[in-house]
């Protein structure tokens, strides 16, 4: 039995409708849990609503179709849910499908299944391999870039807690005669409670959830008159903030919720953070720092035609470890700031050459924003893998396993049964950061305990 998989099957764009595709034995049962309307019949497009079967909230008005295998794209049972094309709606439906037991499709997985189930002809096989390769390499890049982030560090820390628990369990099971501390149910329950809280906290702050609800927080920062307002206007595609040649005109932070490539983005143009005695400007600067601190992405604008000064340096200090784009503006003038100079200071940043005056570099900035949200995934017709959704999905599954383990611990079930669920959580967290479990626990057992015949 193959796992049931799901993904957003349409390209994310300005399309009127979007499709969430589910494939596998569980696709119809899952669809039935979240679809309200006439009963789904084979090969019949049916009108109804998707509602959250956990909260009862209605998510979207949809059309759904059930295709029984082998008469479907993958030759497995497939359900496709057509909803409004907005990212929010698509992602909510996908998240719901995953919560109901489907697994997020791997890169190229629908196509792979279609091929392996005999649905495509031989000439397409090469393309399938390319697809697997290209996508998995891409995933790998993303994994690497996110390894540096706070998120993966947190996951690593929680995973280390699991290692502690598993090592204790393992040594208790495999070395019953040794002079070691017993893993009692109380101790295990306490340990599981601690990791459960950490997982819940992490999930609560999960970017995906927040971005779906509130949009991506982007702060534009830079010293006065460097072109921040021009960039904001360009992204807004209308003149909104006051743009003048006099430094310090943006006295307040300006916040706009806009749609960039169909992603809700909460854009904040800040007043800059230079030292000032002007009271009004001072308030603006405080607000700048605040919006800077809560931003998911910081766009730091630098005047490429002038050497970095004290004020730029001060901002650079704030950039440490943040998701950032550094825009080297004023490319229409002679450049004195080099990309290398910036890269040395903010190694995690994407550096973009731009000229607000000539409208250069705006699209690249939009690309980067999109990439951040969708985890750098290539858009493909058969599946769109959203790294953030994937993370959330894995975290939720890990939490579920910990809860199962806790419940079993409370019921005083045998240790080796509980271990299965604890180990499952540990493996799921490993999947997020791309680390495989192989041998780690056993190695730790010998490293930490003095065992011998």
């Amino acid at each position: 039995m193959e796992a049931t998989i799901a993904a957003i099957a349409t390209a994310l764009g300005e399309g009127g409708i979007g499709i969430v595709r589910i494939s596998g034995e569980e696709s119809l049962p899952i669809a039935n849990k979240i679809f309200r309307g006439s009963a789904l019949k084979e090969r019949m497009l049916t009108y109804g609503h998707v509602y959250d079967n956990f909260t009862g909230e209605t998510i979207d008005e949809v059309m759904a179709v059930y295709m029984k295998g082998p008469r479907s794209y993958t030759a497995e049972d497939v359900v496709e849910i057509q909803c409004h094309g907005s990212v929010v709606s698509l992602r909510k439906i996908l998240a719901l499908v995953l919560k109901n037991g489907a697994r997020l499709a791997e890169p190229g997985e629908f196509t792979k299944r279609a091929f392996l189930n005999g649905r495509m002809d031989l000439t397409q096989a090469e393309a399938v391999i390319d697809l697997i390769r290209a996508k998995s390499d891409k995933t790998f890049d993303v994994a690497l870039s996110q390894l540096e982030g706070k998120f993966s560090q947190t996951v690593k820390d929680i995973r280390a807690d699991f290692v502690d628990l598993l090592v204790q369990i393992t040594v208790n099971i495999d070395y019953p005669d040794e002079d070691i501390e017993e893993m009692t149910y109380d101790k295990l329950f306490e340990g599981l409670g601690a990791v459960r809280e950490k997982l819940q906290a992490l999930l609560a702050t999960s970017d995906t959830g927040r971005i779906i609800k509130e949009g991506l927080n982007v702060a534009i920062i830079g010293k006065p008159n460097v072109g921040k307002s021009s960039l904001m206007n360009a992204l807004l595609r209308e003149t909104r903030a006051i743009v003048t040649e006099i430094a310090g005109t943006t006295r307040d932070t300006i916040e706009e919720v806009i749609s960039i490539r169909n992603i809700p983005v909460r854009l904040t143009d800040t007043a800059g953070i230079r030292q000032t005695d002007d009271i009004i400007e001072k308030i603006g600067i405080e607000k700048s720092k605040e919006s800077f601190n809560k931003a998911d992405l910081v766009i730091f604008m630098v005047d490429g035609s002038r050497s970095l000064d004290e004020e730029d340096e001060e901002i650079l200090q704030y950039m440490d470890g943040r998701q950032a784009i550094v825009v080297l503006n004023k490319q229409d003038l002679t450049q004195v700031v080099s990309r290398e100079e910036i890269a040395a200071r903010v190694p995690q940043a994407v550096i973009i050459d731009a000229s607000m005056k000539e409208g250069m570099g705006i699209e690249t900035i939009e690309d980067k924003i999109e990439e951040l949200v969708y985890g750098g995934q290539v858009k493909q017709n058969d599946s769109i893998m959203v790294t953030n959704v994937r993370h959330k999905n894995l975290l939720e599954l890990a939490l579920q396993s910990v809860e199962d383990a806790s419940a079993m611990t409370e019921m005083r079930q045998p240790l080796e049964f509980i271990e299965i669920d604890v180990n499952r959580s540990y493996e799921l967290l490993g999947e997020i950061i791309g680390e495989t479990a192989s041998g780690e626990i056993i190695n730790e057992v010998f490293a930490r305990f003095c065992l011998g015949k």
Binding site: M1, G108, P414, K453
Partner: protein, 627 residues
Amino acid sequence: MEHILMGEYDVIVVGAGHAGCEAALASARMGKKTLLCTMNLESVAMMPCNPSIGGTGKGHLVREIDALGGEMGKNIDKTFIQSKMLNTAKGPAVHSLRAQADKHKYHVEMKKTIEHTENLDLRQVEVTDLIVEDGKVCGVETVTHTWFKADAVILATGTFLRGKIFIGDSAFESGPNGLAPSNLLAENLRKHGMKLRRFKTGTPARCLAQSLDYSKMQEQKGDDVVVPFSFMNDKLGENQVSCWLTYTNAETHRVIRENFHRSALFGGQIEGIGPRYCPSIEDKVNRFADKERHQTFIEPEGLDTDEMYIQGMSSSLPEDVQLAFYKTIPGLENLRITRPAYAIEYDCIDPQDLQLNLEYRTIENLFCAGQFNGSSGYEEAAAQGLMAGINAVLKITGREPLVLGRDEAYIGVLIDDLVTKGTNEPYRIMTSRAEYRLVLRQDNADQRLTDKGYEVGLATQERYDRYLAKKDAVAREVERLENKFVGPKEADEFLIAHGTTGLNSKVSMAELLRRPQLNYTDLAEIDDETRPELSSHEITQLEVQIKYEGYIQKQMNQIERYKKLENRKLMQDFDYNQIEGLRLEAAQKLNQIQPASVGQASRISGVSPADINVLLVYLEKQRRKAE
């Protein structure tokens, strides 16, 4: 030089330790004319280290060996002097049987069994070379230049190959326990292109019981009811001895620390890699410096000897230091050592050079088993010996190999780990190495394996009948319990007395058995005359099946998924470089290991899930081209 042909066999086994004995018995019992060679007949089934069989994971292996028709379980049942089921406070999947053996009797009984087995010749002879023709082994040469011919040869040389013993700063060529090493064979195996490496292991000192003061130690008794290892035995005799627990202390550690420099282990003389789970006492004191004491069990070596084994205290320190530190341990103050502790280094192969049937990849019909493959432990050796014996016979009779899956047996986990993942230290089985631990229990080893043993012609008719009878009795009783209902009137008083809650409506007896507070024997109180007499084996099986049904079913589903990839067979002697899209590292690893299935390929380190997908697509392409 002229070679005198001294005999022709179907299968020749080199080495009569735990691997060699199982290999030879399996081959002979499967009807093949078999020769078992050993350098010294007094060392047949010798236990040169600890005087026990079984333990966590290892006990499972013994049960599996028995279920397939091997000898180890029966032999320990004949010769045990104390028995204990470990982990009984935990669940049924990790209950593990361990028995103290009378070492000498263990050897005598095994030798007797071999001597009385049809088709089997046991012979004291030193094998010094393989006869290989066209990449195929066809016999062995001995130290007297005589030849024995055979269709298959099984190497089970244990720690004898270029064996070297270390005690303090002295090092000398030796096999284990004062026996001669085998040097010529090691040299010649290299000539045949076999890659050998050095591993190391060690054993503690033996001492006289009369020199010990048991009043300063804690007595460790066996179980009240002795559970047999073999599925062929329903009941066994009683425990006859105790073991004794005592601890090292600050003084012990001081003596050891002051003499670190005199240990062969720290002196750099030993090049071999030792197992982490079996460190010497100086290693323990060094690595776990903050640990105030280390425990040691003092275990009898047999009934006819006064010698005792000092568990957990192996060492390669000089004899004077050994005596000094042992004497600091409570109860050991007047210790008289009979045999010093030593470390031993030996040649073995890289098991990644084997196929899953334990056949050497580059020499056809040459099979390898035991410590020679980089494992450690009597049970691990016996398990491989058995499989090598079975597979050698299957190979020369043109039948499919018997390869046990990771979902079928600890033996499968052991061999797959060795062959697929390799090992950097002597490999020991652990229950945590098995992904499907809930299914691979010691109570159901017969249900998992006896039909396979029977099918290849090893398990006897009697064993097969017992297996079927048990299977049938359990199934019938499970069905009866599922269909027999009781209500509050009959059951409530009983339930409350057993610390659980009363009923609202009628429930099945099976449902009641799922309650943690109740067991099958208790339920007799509210059962009726249709209740059958079940053996203890059957009751265990039944309880596990009913009580943990949900979890076991979950694991069975995982196994279904696992099997899908295991059943996708891969081509052999294949050049993976020709598959486009595979990463170079993956292609290299696949070329080296030549996995038998996609499942095995997925466990090789360096082969990613994306590589497996590329492989699957390639296979499908080939299949369609073939159509």
